[in-house]
């Protein structure tokens, strides 16, 4: 009772009641009451790797930049080169602070010549919207809209995601390439944005439907019912985290943050320094000119018994503290204990043996190539063959 701060009301997606009725385990994720475990994390993870899973990712935010000045605004705001995008194409990018660290990582979608949709993380929504308004709000010919609450966003992921979604849409999904999107009819709804994107390292789609509860619940139910023959499972944020970790995709607040710069994070390939200007560019050029970053993100595989987890310190074998794990977990698919960690560049060569301090014990790990898991290209090919059969 001595706590004087008012309890914060957790935010809920339109599917909250559906998740609760399904007895999914719920957690506070960045202020959102979200399912972490729907029917068992490992089963969900394996469903996505071998069949199909569906995630409620409506907590993600959506910022629209519209108007004749929208491309110039995106180019100033984000590090990737949006002038290369065609209408219907998306790419991975990030908004940076002037020092080259992350405001957030984002997916930029080019909706039309003067219209971009930037999909942002849940935990950083308010910060991101404020940053966008502050950074490009003064620029001519661009209007900023926060559409975050207007969509229920479902991610249908896995080698059988296309077959599942194909039964619910008249759009020929085989014509949508990876990181492209279109609009089509889904579950009888018109003009649904269907993007071949995701955060699992698997083939899959993200669909954006109206965020009213009855529509959201109906589509969620139809996806599950339609995917049943392919082995679909409703998946929570627990599986989403282990899936993205195996694929070595960054999570804000872990691998990327306002204290980690793009080059350290190994995401320099998305920072187009040949663009004349964007927020953070000068700092990245300076870091490069000074010989590059001092630390780097590496993949670790535990070679002794133990699970390295977020925040656990990493040492050299002679006992020098090198850095810490940003994300660590057992890998359900690889059946190894894996982690991402920042270490000095000179300690990060492949096969270097390091030690992770796990509850007072030094446990050996070694540096391994990233990503830990990469889907075989033939998965996508066989799927195309099945679809076109």
């Amino acid at each position: 009772m001595s706590d004087t701060t008012a309890p914060t009301e957790l935010r809920k997606t339109a599917l909250n009641a559906v998740h609760r009725a399904a007895k999914s385990k719920m957690v506070d994720f960045g202020g959102w009451d979200m399912p972490v475990d729907c029917c068992g994390l490992i089963a969900e993870h394996m469903a996505v790797r071998t069949a199909v899973g569906v995630f409620d990712v409506s907590h993600m935010g959506d910022i629209q930049l519209r108007g004749p000045g929208s491309l110039a605004a995106v180019q100033h705001l984000c590090m990737n080169d949006a002038s290369k995008l065609a209408v219907g194409q998306a790419h991975y990018s990030a908004m940076l602070y002037p020092n080259g660290t992350f405001v957030d990582d984002v997916i930029v979608h080019k909706l039309s010549e003067n219209d971009y949709l930037i999909v942002i993380n849940a935990g950083t929504r308010e910060k991101d919207v404020q940053w966008v308004r502050k950074t490009i709000g003064h620029m001519p010919g661009v209007h900023v809209n926060d559409f975050s609450d207007y969509y229920t966003q479902l991610a249908i992921q896995g080698p059988r995601a296309a077959e599942t979604l194909q039964k619910l849409t008249s759009t020929d999904l085989s014509t949508i390439k990876n990181y492209w999107f279109t609009w089509g009819q889904v579950c009888g709804l018109h003009n649904v944005m269907i993007a071949r994107t995701g955060y699992t390292g698997e083939d899959g789609f993200e669909i954006y439907i109206p965020s009213d509860e009855p529509t959201s619940a109906r589509v969620w139910g139809e996806v599950l019912a339609t995917g049943a023959e392919f082995g679909i499972l409703a998946c929570g944020l627990g599986a989403r985290n282990t899936l993205r970790l195996e694929a070595a995709m960054a999570l804000y607040g872990h691998e990327i943050s306002d204290t980690i710069n793009v080059l350290e994070a190994g995401l320099g390939r998305y920072a187009k320094l040949d663009k004349p200007e964007f927020v953070g560019r000068d700092a990245l050029l300076e870091i490069q000119a000074a010989g590059g970053p001092k630390r780097k993100l590496v993949g670790l595989e535990m070679i002794e018994r133990g699970i390295g987890r977020d925040g656990y310190p990493v040492f050299s074998l002679d006992g020098k503290r090198l850095g810490e794990i940003t994300s660590g977990s057992p890998s359900p698919f690889l059946k190894k204990n894996i982690a991402l960690a920042y270490v000095p560049v000179e300690n990060g060569a492949l096969d270097t043996e390091l030690a992770v301090e796990i509850r007072g014990q030094m446990v050996k790990a070694k540096v391994v190539p990233l990503p830990f898991y990469k889907r075989a290209k033939k998965t996508t090919l066989s799927q195309h063959l099945q679809l076109n059969y």
Binding site: K25, D37, G238, S329, P332
Partner: protein, 129 residues
């Protein structure tokens, strides 16, 4: 899931079944369900001593690590070696999957533990149901 009436329980979600001087210790069904898929169990060795209310090891799910707390004090007489390769047995039957056996140094400690009814009431309060 019913909690066996012949077991005693802790607020840290361990159970103990006492037979003479030997107590068999596991974690409750409520605990395994909250943890999710269990992938790793770290236990003491036979001959080690454990102390009532103190951590004696840990259990890890994919998501998280949880300390294990000893319901009673005593010397470890057996450790369930099956759990090294098959920790998921705890998920399938927490009531029947024991972690270790302890020779009780003070049998009266058991009287201070929760009964099945107490424990069930405690967990329903914890979840707010």
């Amino acid at each position: 899931m019913a909690y066996p009436a012949n077991y005693r329980y802790t607020k840290e979600h361990e159970w103990i079944q006492v037979d003479g001087k030997i107590g068999t210790v596991g974690i409750t069904d409520y605990a395994q369900n909250s943890l999710g898929d269990i992938v790793f169990v770290d236990l003491p060795k036979v001959g080690d001593t454990v102390e009532a209310g103190k951590s004696f090891g840990s259990v890890e799910s994919v998501k998280a690590v949880s300390d294990l707390f000893a319901p009673v004090s005593g010397a470890v007489t057996a450790v369930n070696e099956d759990l090294k390769d098959a920790p998921e047995k705890i998920n399938s039957d927490a009531n029947a999957t024991w972690l270790l056996k302890v020779e009780l140094s003070d049998a009266k400690q058991v009287d201070g533990l929760l009964t099945a009814a107490d424990y069930e009431k405690f967990t329903s309060e914890e979840t707010g149901h």
